[in-house]
């Protein structure tokens, strides 16, 4: 992409005249495909939400009928249960700590790696980037053994710290090019005005990097919020269960009560989907930036 000559990016004056004929998409086939994809994507989630308003007896009689009558009991039971809120609290606590650490330390590293010249800089960067090869799941068991050694087993920080560490690579990979692209003149001006470089970092560079910081923050948060294997291995007491663990264990506890499982599953989707709808543009934009470098 970067090698294309610049003039190709200029809109041609005849653009409207020569716009490519719309062929197969303007035919209903294209829309049919899209409708099918939409149905396959959204139907399962809608099904869980609506099914949660049924009773298990109704679902057993006819799995694909609308609830009749609609019952609130399943949702009410979950919204008022301590299992659910405890799990939300645990997930939130862990995700906030992991995200805060990943963003704070990641931006420090990205600053040093983008705006300082020092020997071994690329080696340090490479070390972090190599972390992209190894998702958290790969290291769950070794991490569990390490946490046991340092007494952080069955401890929420024992999950948050590794999650932060595993979020550092992607954070740095996204932030470094972003910080690099901020003009050097700004830094020179700040230094002329008597600021130290750390002050420049805190007062000027970080505020300017806000869009990228939001992206990496969301990525780290979602990664932590969704993590399953590490918490599964590390937590032995149910009080520490995060939402994914709680959903899975709720299902195995209430195997026979399908409607309740639907309701719990539906409720557990809400936080992730809410974050996503709130932040989708930033998240997608950041991923794009990361890929394009």
């Amino acid at each position: 992409m970067t090698t294309l000559p610049a003039r190709l990016g200029r809109p041609s004056p005849r653009r409207g005249a020569v716009r490519e004929r719309r062929t197969w998409l303007s035919v209903p086939a294209g829309y049919l495909v899209i409708l099918l994809v939409l149905a396959i994507t959204l139907a399962p989630m809608l099904y869980m939400i609506v099914g949660g308003f049924s009773t298990t007896a109704q679902l057993n009689a006819n799995p694909n009928a609308l609830p009749h009558p609609w019952v609130w009991g399943n949702y009410a039971a979950i919204i008022t249960s301590s299992i659910f809120w405890q799990a939300v609290y645990n997930s939130l606590l862990i995700a906030v700590v992991a995200t805060g650490l990943a963003v704070a330390l990641g931006s420090m590293a990205a600053f040093a790696l983008s705006r300082y010249a020092f020997r071994g800089r690329e080696a340090v960067y490479l070390l972090f980037v190599a972390g992209l090869l190894f998702p958290l799941n790969t290291a769950a068991l070794p991490l569990f053994l390490l946490l046991q050694q340092v007494g952080l087993n069955d401890n929420r920080f024992g999950v948050a710290l590794p999650e932060a560490a595993f979020s550092l690579p992607v954070t740095i990979v996204i932030l470094r090019p972003f910080m690099r692209a901020i003009p050097g003149e700004l830094e020179d001006a700040a230094i002329v005005d008597g600021a130290t470089r750390l002050r420049f970092f805190l007062r000027i560079l970080l505020p300017l990097s806000r869009p990228a910081l939001i992206t990496v923050g969301i990525l780290a948060f979602v990664t932590s919020w969704n993590a399953y294997l590490l918490p599964l291995v590390v937590f032995s007491s149910q009080d520490h269960y995060t939402l994914p663990l709680a959903v899975a264990s709720f299902q195995s506890t209430y195997t026979q009560d399908t409607a309740r499982v639907y309701a719990f599953t539906a409720v557990s989707m809400i936080p992730a989907l809410a974050i996503f709808i709130f932040a989708q543009r930033k998240l997608v934009g950041g991923l794009v930036g990361a890929i394009r470098g």
Partner: protein, 332 residues
Amino acid sequence: MARTQSARAAAAGRDIVSRPAAAGVPKSRAPRSRRRLRKAVELTVLIGPPVVLFVGFVIVPMIFAAWYSLYNWSGFGPLNDFIGGRNYTGVLSGPVFHQALEHNVIIAVLSVVIQLPISIGLALLLNRRVRGRTFLRLAVFAPFVLSEATTAVMWYELLQPGGPVDAVLKGVGLGGLVHYWLASTSLVLYTVFVVATWKYIGFGIVLLLAGLQGIPPELREAAAIDGATPWQATRAITLPLLAPTIRIWIFLSVIGSLQLFDLVWIMTLGGPANASTTMLTYQYINGVQRTQFGYGATVSVVLFAISLVFALAYQRYALRRDTAGALTRAVM
């Protein structure tokens, strides 16, 4: 966008030491050694904590795992039963591990052969001026943000015998297609793959859409003037220019397939009869549940080595052609 960014990066990348701008400013009166010291202190403060966190929780556990893998060890008490490479021969010669590795590879291959063309097709479709495009993009990306656990529980329920999926199939006259989706040894792995596709395809589509937006529309317009059909233009212009994005997608997809765990564990526990076991479910059963942590650590080392070999080979043969992309540049 990438162009202006790299131009600005070049402007910003000036070395602090060779910077002439600070002359005549009070700061420059400080002796050179003091400035050096100051820079060293700043760098330590900035880069020390992230390196410590990263080394402590990413590198050290892997080193420990390599050490534990040489012992017969229950995870508690001292490491005193040194058995050399016996864990490795156990893992590498075990038929169940072979099965698990085969399943990981099948999922990875299916991803590239099936998920990738579908993703490209849908990305091309969504890149056109379709009504409600923003909503469509939002919708296809939504499953990606759900947790694997929620996804797995949901599909486990939907795929129960006589459950919603079966009822839908019967409802549209395809009752003959009804199977024991999660209980049939010949089918379960493919069921898992379909669920994984449902969950992850949105990510691929969004990635490819981003790549498509980097391709100037004038190229296709010029081809259209020259008489190319849309299909010819797609094949000769769009797809080759999309290749760097596709290569990154393949990389991420294979690394993801190798560490598949959550979906499988919740839906099938790796069963029935190991028919859907993966390297990580194998590790969970044989390392964690049986408290043979030396053996489990061995699986980690093997998985680590497989990922590394794949990454290096892929780097060598596929990614080297790309000049853009942070991943690429850094690993080269």
